[in-house]
């Protein structure tokens, strides 16, 4: 937190409300986001519904920088959003990586009609901050993520498959189940031989290269939550 006072925040919020052009709104939102103050959360969330992509990007960045503290408000208002705002909110949740957003991110990775939102969700479920989940729930949640990501590697859009591969790579690095690394490596191998898009193959190859060198370095029983988080 930057320690800005409430008065400063209300001035920054007012600047958004009185901005007289799309470009001026973007600048005002960036300024508010830069304050990194929880008091800005509800305004930043409102901005997601402005139908102003530049402003939405700035608001998503601001919400992501605030992190966990923005999650309850984002989740609470998710159903009330119009489609565009919902897509931006899901991006913010994907960037934050809070496990409370996992159910909505899992659904989104599999089922959203906009490819950019599926892409963000696939990456997001792979990069969840597992240490924020009660330890006894981690293995089951990771198993769910693994299943969804494996399914997502057959998405019709290459960029979503790419994100799923990146997600699997990230998941493998944090997996608590010691057999996950081998399962993921095997799946990546399949992607390399089956996927028609060179870029997706290359991403899978990079993951596989990194994971196999990791496996070589690790002790016989490697995975504990604290070790990797």
């Amino acid at each position: 937190m930057s320690g800005k006072g409430l008065a400063d925040i209300s001035t920054l919020v007012q600047a958004i409300e009185t901005a007289d052009s799309k470009a001026a709104i973007v600048v005002a939102v960036r300024n508010l986001a830069a304050a990194k103050d929880p008091a800005a959360i509800s305004t930043l969330i409102n901005v997601l519904g402005y139908n102003n992509p530049g402003a939405a990007v700035a608001a998503v960045d601001g919400l992501a920088a605030l992190g966990r503290i923005a999650v309850p408000a984002l989740l609470e208002e998710l159903d009330g959003y119009n489609y565009g705002a919902r897509a931006w909110a899901i991006r913010a949740l994907a960037l934050i990586g809070d496990p409370r957003a996992l159910p909505v991110l899992l659904d989104t990775a599999l089922g959203d009609f906009a490819l950019s939102v599926r892409r963000a969700a696939a990456k997001g479920i792979g990069t969840i901050n597992w240490s924020q989940l009660p330890e006894e729930q981690v293995a089951q949640a990771q198993a769910q993520v693994m299943e969804v990501l494996q399914q997502t590697t057959t998405d019709p859009e290459w960029v979503v498959r790419y994100a799923a591969v990146a997600g699997l790579h990230a998941l493998a690095l944090k997996a608590v189940d010691s057999s996950s690394g081998a399962v993921i490596s095997q799946h990546l191998q399949q992607v390399i031989s089956r996927d028609q898009t060179l870029t997706v193959q290359a991403r899978a190859q990079m993951a596989l290269d990194a994971l196999s060198s990791d496996l070589d370095e690790l002790e016989p029983s490697p995975s504990s939550l604290t070790q990797h988080s």
Partner: protein
């Protein structure tokens, strides 16, 4: 059309069968059905002979007319044929270069570029006749007399090395988009990095449309030094990812991936892409 809305249409389009699509294209009662069927056949890469024949017939359609006198069905049929990889349609597409509808000429040019058949070079060069002086805007229209962007890009992709002297003057055309297209073609035809760098500078243009077009051009020519500047330019991540894909894949082909394994450069581009997801 944005990528997102295209995806939505795809999701609805899955329900059409190949037979239905071909029948829809052949009938003449409902223009909307025909127009959609032409797009659908291209989108789903339907290459069976009946589909190709129906699309070639549609290139000469006189029934579907736009209020401005254009030929919407011909435009869509040309686009679809560009996606289907059948070189036997090249003469039919070349004939479209004489169509009075600017957008038909543009679609046919883009299709000829994709099909990669050098028979298209001479007729495309003919459209540049009169040089830059003749390349003026059509009064009352948002476009020039010819689809110069598409023509220049196609000549570059088709390796029209003999055309360099006719392309070079377009580097100084008044329209920045045309300059970009000429720059891209000159890079492809000469390999001179000066042209690649000129497009990289365009990523700093104040106009978003220009930054986008420079990005797509750099992706299309696979200019590796542009990867980092593309990742940091001010534009949508979706488009940056597509441009970086273009750069990465031409590099991967160059090094002989997958047999070669990944190079350091490839890993760097992949890392840039990861941050844009």
């Amino acid at each position: 059309m944005t990528l997102e809305s295209q995806n939505l249409i795809n999701a609805q389009g899955e329900s059409l069968t190949v037979e239905q699509a071909i029948a829809n294209l052949r009938q003449t009662e409902d223009s909307g059905l025909r127009y959609y069927a032409a797009w659908w056949l291209g989108r789903f890469r339907i290459t069976q002979p009946e589909a190709i024949e129906a699309l070639v017939v549609a290139l000469e359609d006189d029934i579907d007319r736009a209020p401005d006198g254009g030929y919407p069905l011909r435009r869509n049929a040309a686009r679809a044929l560009g996606k289907l990889g059948q070189r036997r349609v090249v003469p039919a597409l070349i004939a479209c270069l004489d169509c009075p509808d600017y957008y038909v000429r543009e679609s046919a040019t883009q299709a000829l570029e994709t099909l990669g058949d050098t028979r298209a070079i001479a007729p495309l060069l003919a459209l540049l006749s009169g040089g830059v002086e003749a390349a003026t805007q059509v009064p009352g229209k948002p476009h020039l007399v010819q689809p110069y962007n598409a023509i220049l890009e196609a000549l570059g992709s088709l390796g029209a090395i003999a055309a360099v002297t006719k392309i070079a003057p377009f580097l100084e055309h008044d329209w920045p988009q045309v300059q970009n297209a000429a720059t891209r073609a000159m890079y492809q035809l000469t390999g001179d990095e000066h042209y690649g760098d000129r497009l990289v500078q365009r990523l700093q243009a104040p106009n978003l449309q220009l930054r986008r077009s420079a990005m797509m051009d750099l992706g299309a020519i696979g200019y590796l030094p542009a990867a980092q500047p593309i990742a940091t330019t001010l534009a949508e991540n979706s488009l940056k990812l597509i441009a970086l894909q273009g750069i990465l894949e031409s590099h991967l082909q160059h090094i002989g991936f997958p047999a070669s394994g990944l190079s350091t450069e490839a890993e760097q581009v992949l890392s840039l892409m990861d941050d844009l997801l």
